[in-house]
């Protein structure tokens, strides 16, 4: 493929994939919701779970975005330094966003700040948002597409604790965010927690945490224990689907962490709503690709 053709090809695949993930949930999220529905005993919560399932079926059948808020488009990239189109990726993903907006269609969700005008294209200054991790000596590109809806973005919160507050303070912070702001963010939520050194590092990790599949655990034993304790504890609060009470609150709690300054504990929470629209696609250097997040996809 000539380099012009390969840019066009990859743009086309990413357009279709971006559009696709607005219509169908990833396999881990679907599975988790079916499990929560099975465990639920509260009649109003059951009615809501059933409406959710009916909605996903209708979205699939009618080929429409399952939620009207298709979010600000964010791409989280893990790219090998030797991936042939590394320099073209920004343009490719901008094109993909523009085209998916027409093809999806996606709602127009890019408002230029200070000018306060909706661009009508889902593109704007630094939007689509790109987050980069570069891998040395690798020639593949793994791209996570995430549709950051307004409702599940609103609870986002970060602060820096004093070490005296400890991990007890981290637990308090997570509970405060979920029981106050999380209720309105379309539970059952996927809760991402970043435990790190400052607000911006914790915030970024909290977002990376909700890109991890629902049923995975942090490799550190203490962090995994904390994930489990927070998940069980939040479920015991019984916020239920849509915050209208039920036997569960969350799809899961994922923690991502880094080392920290001895004087600080940066902590942040990001939430994914039940309609957690993320997708993972991995390109090889010859642009053959594999879709990791969804099953039986034809783009």
């Amino acid at each position: 493929m000539s380099s012009e053709n390969s840019v066009e090809y990859m743009s086309d695949v990413m357009t279709k994939f971006t559009s696709y993930i607005g219509k169908r949930l990833p396999k881990d999220v679907k599975q988790k919701q079916a499990d929560l529905r099975k465990k639920e005993k509260n009649p109003m919560a059951i009615e809501i779970y059933d409406t959710m399932a009916e909605n996903q079926e209708a979205a699939d059948k009618l080929d429409r975005p399952s939620c009207q808020d298709t979010g600000v488009i964010q791409y989280f990239l893990t790219v090998g330094a030797k991936f042939p189109l590394i320099g073209e990726l920004e343009d490719i993903l901008r094109t993909a966003t523009l085209e998916a907006t027409k093809k999806g269609p996606l709602r127009h969700n890019a408002v230029e700040t200070f000018d306060e005008k909706n661009t009508g294209t889902n593109t704007g200054s630094k939007i689509p948002w790109l987050d980069w991790d570069i891998v040395p000596n690798d020639d593949t590109a793994t791209i996570e597409v995430y549709m950051a809806g307004g409702g599940c973005t609103l609870p986002g919160h970060a602060k820096v604790l004093m070490p005296g507050q400890g991990y007890e303070g981290v637990a308090d912070f997570v509970f405060d965010v979920i029981t106050s702001r999380g209720i309105n963010a379309c539970p059952p939520l996927l809760v991402g927690v970043g435990v790190s050194t400052s607000v911006e590092t914790a915030a970024r990790l909290s977002k990376k945490a909700i890109l991890r599949p629902v049923d995975t655990s942090n490799p550190n034993a203490n962090a995994a224990l904390m994930e489990q304790l927070l998940e069980e504890g939040l479920n015991e609060v019984g916020i239920g689907p849509q915050g209208l009470t039920g036997d569960n609150t969350v799809m899961g709690v994922n923690i991502e962490s880094s080392a920290r300054h001895p004087s600080t504990i940066g902590v942040a929470v990001s939430t994914g709503c039940w309609a957690h629209r993320r997708g993972t696609i991995k390109f090889n250097s010859d642009l053959s690709y594999e879709i990791i997040s969804h099953e039986d996809v034809t783009l």
């Binding site: 409406t51 127009h108 009508g120 007890e168 509970f175 209720i183 963010a185 015991e236 916020i239 849509q242």
Partner: protein
């Protein structure tokens, strides 16, 4: 049996409803969210649609404009109602709207507005935007289009739109405020237990 409300909604139709009841709506449903509320209340602009006795929907849909200039509703779910809390009490008083549909709870001010003007707030399950779109029979008008697709006032003709879960009733009861109290009561004991197990700093 399904309880169906029809616009214009009478006070009598709402009087017996309690929080937690499930109803459906037939008639007209107008999308109205952040900037439309601000324009009416802060900028004193007249709402271009008369919603007296009617219903508004906190929602910003995906709409497809067809070649003949008509519109197709693609996807329309509720948005977070709490964002409109700042304006809603006055909005209800000025417009005479009877039903506010959205997602999540609203606060004391809206509950007071519902009590004063015999209106209700109801929740349509968030994220269920295609189910909702299939209950829209037609988009009859679009006002304030300068606000862009999400903020335009889309006038929808709907049939048995729901399920709508009453979250604030005409007596001013607020299911989310009641639930919040329960959640906060439960929280303390759970956190105490967690604290004992996360003392990683030694």
């Amino acid at each position: 049996m399904k309880k169906i409300l029809t616009t214009p909604i009478s006070d009598e139709a709402l009087a017996d409803l309690n929080v937690g009841d499930i109803v459906y709506l037939t008639g007209h449903l107008v999308t109205c969210r952040d900037v439309a509320h601000r324009r009416l209340i802060e900028l004193k602009q007249k709402l271009p649609v008369d919603v007296r006795g009617g219903a508004i929907f906190h929602a910003g849909p995906i709409v497809r404009e067809k070649d003949d200039g008509s519109f197709e509703m693609v996807s329309i779910g509720p948005t977070t109602s709490m964002r409109m809390e700042k304006f809603e009490r006055q909005f209800i008083a000025e417009t005479g709207v009877k039903m506010i549909i959205g997602k999540g709870g609203m606060g004391e001010e809206t509950a007071a507005g519902c009590l004063e003007n015999k209106a209700v707030h109801a929740v349509f399950p968030g994220g269920c935007a295609v189910v909702a779109a299939t209950k829209v029979e037609a988009i009859e008008a679009a006002e304030w289009r300068d606000l862009g697709m999400p903020e335009t006032l889309w006038v929808n003709r709907v049939k048995e739109f729901g399920p709508l879960i009453i979250s604030i009733d005409t007596k001013g009861n607020n299911i989310f405020e009641q639930n919040k109290k329960t959640f906060n009561e439960r929280k303390g004991a759970i956190l105490e237990r967690i604290h004992e197990q996360v003392k990683f700093i030694k």
